[in-house]
């Protein structure tokens, strides 16, 4: 259950923030004989640990026709094992004053507990047990499918902006499975069953396909000793090959999608460009995209906000983001909501003018310095939160990054030049690489404003 799967909604924001974090000191990274990777991030300020297990499998690894299966299995992982039947694990977490949750993305599935430090080994034992010991019956699987369908109603069906987001992704990826929603398409989710879940579980849930990240009041030596008694005893049960997904053809056409819903009281537009991720970018390229998105659209003095909202006064909000953590492709997005009476077209023209200016003239030395300072300061702020650090490391490692690459990030940001940012803008902000989504009240053009 994830119970409240962060992945589908919150994790994107989280990862965007995490992408700007900096290495905490003394991070240890080691592998067990069964192939499990373990990362320890000490933080001794409070007697608390965050314990996370990341499986290197997500929605993009589903068999076509089974969309939503990775997420459905994540929910079912809370249904108990032979050793800890039913909700024994959750009961234990509650009793010791802990918190737990889980999440699914396109590239990974994660489970975590935040507990008082003395209970860490207990959590490791529980997670080691459910790595291969899950027991599922139709009696627990069927009601959970209804829970997932209600989750889909809440996150997507009831939310026009989320429905548009799914359509943008589906249009952006012509061939790669990132075009499928993590929560799945309803008509396919409705048909998922126990056998699907167990087959997926047996194929992907094995120590040689997992990463354990522990942050908090603990040392690497303690974790090593506890892992020897818990995770090390889980035998690998599946061979894991390279994660090769279908790749995107060269983009040839800019695309637009329009979602009309009578409930839309504030029209908006969002445009996503297909760009490289931290994992697939050439050296320095992803950091240049970090700076580019920051200058374009983070904060009240960013180019987009300043131009559209303050100077021209045609938008209520405007910004940009780069969600860099992914095994294959990433998105650089720009967005804006028009002021009442202003057509979406005018706002889109405004965005295009800002982008054209950066492509033609680059960014100023002042913008470069200021945005680097902010990105690096965010890394210091991230060190104040062990759970943020654990998520950042886990997500990056499960998306094909290395600890060394994560720790090099602040230095790589420092090394970004204005030329690199302009090159990135010129190369990647190509309309043919993009999908523009319009959220409107109705398809009548005159009503495309509120």
């Amino acid at each position: 259950m994830s119970k409240i799967p962060l992945s589908v909604v919150a994790l994107a924001a989280l990862l965007a923030a995490g992408a700007t974090a900096q290495a905490a000191p003394d991070v240890s990274d080691f592998a067990l004989a069964n192939g499990l990777e373990v990362v320890v991030i000490p933080d001794h300020r409070a007697p608390v640990v965050t314990h996370m297990v990341w499986y290197k499998v997500g929605a993009a690894d589903e068999t076509p026709g089974k969309s939503g299966l990775a997420h459905f299995l994540e929910h079912l992982m809370f249904k108990g094992t032979e050793k800890s039947p039913g909700d024994t694990f959750s009961q234990d977490v509650a009793e010791i004053g802990g918190q737990e949750n889980a999440f699914t993305s396109s590239d990974y599935t994660g489970f975590f507990q935040r507990v008082p430090r003395e209970h860490l080994k207990e959590m490791m034992a529980f997670e080691a047990d459910r790595m291969t010991g899950l027991v599922l019956t139709d009696a627990v699987v069927r009601p959970e499918l209804n829970v997932v369908l209600e989750e889909l109603n809440m996150r997507v069906a009831n939310n026009p902006a989320a429905r548009l987001g799914q359509q943008v992704d589906a249009a952006l990826y012509l061939n790669h499975p990132y075009g499928r929603p993590v929560i799945g398409w309803r008509h396919e989710v409705e048909k998922l069953d126990r056998d699907d879940a167990l087959a997926f579980y047996r194929r992907f849930y094995t120590p040689n396909n997992a990463i354990v990240v522990i942050a908090g009041d603990v040392t690497a030596d303690e974790v090593k000793a506890d892992a020897a008694d818990t995770y090390a005893k889980v035998a690998p049960r599946a061979e894991i090959g390279p994660r090769l997904r279908p790749t995107e053809p060269a983009p040839e056409a800019s695309r637009t999608v329009t979602l009309a819903d009578p409930r839309v009281e504030q029209p908006s537009l969002t445009r996503d460009y297909l760009v490289p991720s931290d994992t697939t970018a050439k050296p320095g390229e992803s950091e240049a995209l970090d700076v580019l998105a920051n200058v374009l659209g983070t904060g009240a003095n960013s180019r987009l906000y300043r131009t559209l909202v303050v100077d021209k006064g045609i938008a209520l909000t405007a910004g940009a983001y780069y969600s860099s953590t992914a095994l294959d492709y990433a998105k650089l997005g720009v967005y804006a909501s028009p002021k009442p009476g202003v057509p979406l077209r005018a706002v889109e023209d405004g965005i295009d003018a800002v982008l054209a200016d950066v492509i033609a003239h680059g960014i100023t030395a002042d913008e470069l310095d200021s945005s680097k300072n902010r990105l690096i300061a965010d890394a210091v702020y991230a060190q104040d939160n062990q759970a943020t650090l654990a998520r950042w490391y886990g997500a990056a490692l499960a998306s094909g990054e290395t600890v060394a690459a994560i720790q090099a990030w602040p230095d790589n940001v420092r090394a970004v030049t204005a030329e690199a940012v302009q090159d990135a803008a010129r190369h990647w902000l190509d309309r043919r690489r993009s999908v523009t989504g319009y959220l409107v009240k109705s398809l009548q053009p005159e009503e495309n404003h509120s």
Partner: protein, 454 residues
């Protein structure tokens, strides 16, 4: 970076307004290792609670002024919210652009928010930039400009949020709940106003509100991070010393929620129906408060073993989420919960919730449930102390709730002192009194129980 450009911010705000006090609530167990809280009083007589923590080079200052949206003038709901949104725009000699530039250049994070009963502020800075950060904070506290262009932009942004809320089932369910429970009371007004009230607010209203509410006597401050006592003292006088000594607050009457036993249905064409439910809670100063917190945790708290979660989600698969929380206000006390389900299952879902609550009111928790809830509250405290911002928020809330600086050391004994008889008595007191329910969607077989609804 904001990866969620299309988020509905009203929903988040409404949630914060309800949930913020509960963060403090979760924090009752004894930490294994004590976090040392020092009371610091400046030469000018301004008090702050301080936790020194030098491991990370940053400083967090959190503070709250008693007042908030309940102090909005009649017919001008949203004044506090609009004012708070403008504190970090133009200040002193700096217009909005210049001031944002100052903040962004040094990565100084400054934010303000209006709740029902307070204006909350938050500052986070790298230690290296802390003098400039304190100067920026001083300017926001003493010299907000409320330039016309900034006022109109922020007003337009809030209006956009309010218009979106008119078709959002969650917003409608929540607003209708508060408006019904507190029809003639400031609690019944939305914190960020309405599309009718927001245009009425003038710049003079914003200035008058700020003058009335931002004062030293109704101010609570917490500081956490890499900073020493003397520097805190200097900061307190510099930043807050220029404020008037006393606020001019309009007295607010005590109010109990009305409409218990009523069901209000609002028709909206959405695929999933949203339900909000609530009733009478227990005041923070009430001797039964701790028992109330425990029994509410057993019924509908956030954990996966709560009764509502087990009965409505786990056993029947009716919903994705269902929970309720205690809400304590200066002049009222509530419990308030929410869930969402398919149109054709709304009646079943409501029936299960109402039966579970009624049964819990009649029988109370079992000894085992109470023991587990105590264990949870006693052990979970440390989870609230692992970031500077969380610690600072908690310390502000403890001051607002007037719990005393030694509260952390007494909390565990207070929890342990709750008996099964206490828990049963309080469960009856809270959950035997009927619910006010608002339902938004196209529910099948459900109608309003009152002709005045909708």
């Amino acid at each position: 970076m904001n990866a969620q450009p299309l988020n509905n911010s009203l929903y988040r705000r409404a949630m914060v307004a309800i949930v913020a006090p509960l963060l403090a609530l979760a924090a009752f167990a004894a930490p294994a290792r004590a976090t040392t809280v020092e009371r610091v009083v400046s030469p000018g007589g301004i008090e702050a609670w301080l936790v020194r923590e030098t491991a990370v080079p940053l400083v967090v200052v959190e503070f709250a002024f008693g007042g908030g949206a309940v102090q909005d003038p009649p017919g001008k709901a949203g004044t506090a919210d609009l004012a708070a949104s403008l504190f970090d725009d133009g200040v002193g000699d700096f217009d909005s652009k210049t001031f944002h530039d100052r903040l962004e250049r040094k990565s100084i994070e400054l934010s303000f928010q209006a709740d029902r009963e307070s204006i909350r502020g938050s500052l986070r800075t790298l230690t290296a930039n802390r003098d400039e950060a304190f100067e920026d904070l001083r300017l926001t506290m003493t010299a907000p400009r409320f330039d016309a262009a900034d006022v109109e932009l922020n007003r337009a942004q809030i209006m956009s949020t309010l218009r979106r809320a008119t078709t959002s089932p969650n917003d409608i369910a929540s607003q209708r709940w508060w408006a019904t429970a507190f029809a003639d009371h400031p609690y019944g007004r939305p914190v960020n106003g309405t599309v009718e009230t927001l245009p009425n607010i003038t710049i003079d209203d914003l200035k008058a509100y700020t003058r009335r509410v931002l004062a030293r006597d109704n101010l609570k401050i917490a500081v956490v991070g890499d900073i020493d006592v003397e520097t805190v003292k200097t900061m307190l006088d510099k930043v807050f010393g220029g404020l008037p000594a006393k606020p001019e607050l309009t007295p607010i009457e005590a109010a109990a929620p009305a409409g218990l036993g009523r069901q209000v249905v609002v028709n909206l064409d959405v695929p999933q129906t949203v339900i909000e439910f609530g009733g009478v809670g227990v005041a923070r100063k009430d001797p039964d408060f701790m028992a109330a917190y425990l029994v509410n945790n057993i019924l509908g708290g956030g954990s996966f073993s709560a009764r509502l979660y087990q009965e409505v989600r786990e056993k029947r698969g009716l919903v994705y989420s269902v929970s309720d929380s205690l809400v304590w206000l200066d002049h009222s006390a509530l419990f308030l919960g929410a869930t969402a389900t398919r149109d054709d299952r709304t009646a079943d879902t409501l029936d299960v919730i109402q039966k579970q609550i009624r049964r819990f009111g009649e029988d109370g928790p079992t000894a085992d449930e109470l023991a587990k809830a105590k264990s949870y509250m006693n052990s979970s405290f440390a989870l609230n102390l692992d970031t500077s911002s969380k610690i600072a928020s908690l310390l502000v809330q403890f001051q607002i709730d007037d719990l005393g600086i030694d509260y952390m050391s007494k909390r565990s004994a207070m929890i342990d002192a709750v008996t099964l008889d206490d828990a049963r008595r309080v469960a009856k007191r809270m959950f035997d009194g009927g619910l006010l329910v608002t339902v938004v969607g196209k529910p099948e077989g459900i109608a309003s129980t009152s002709t005045t609804a909708n």
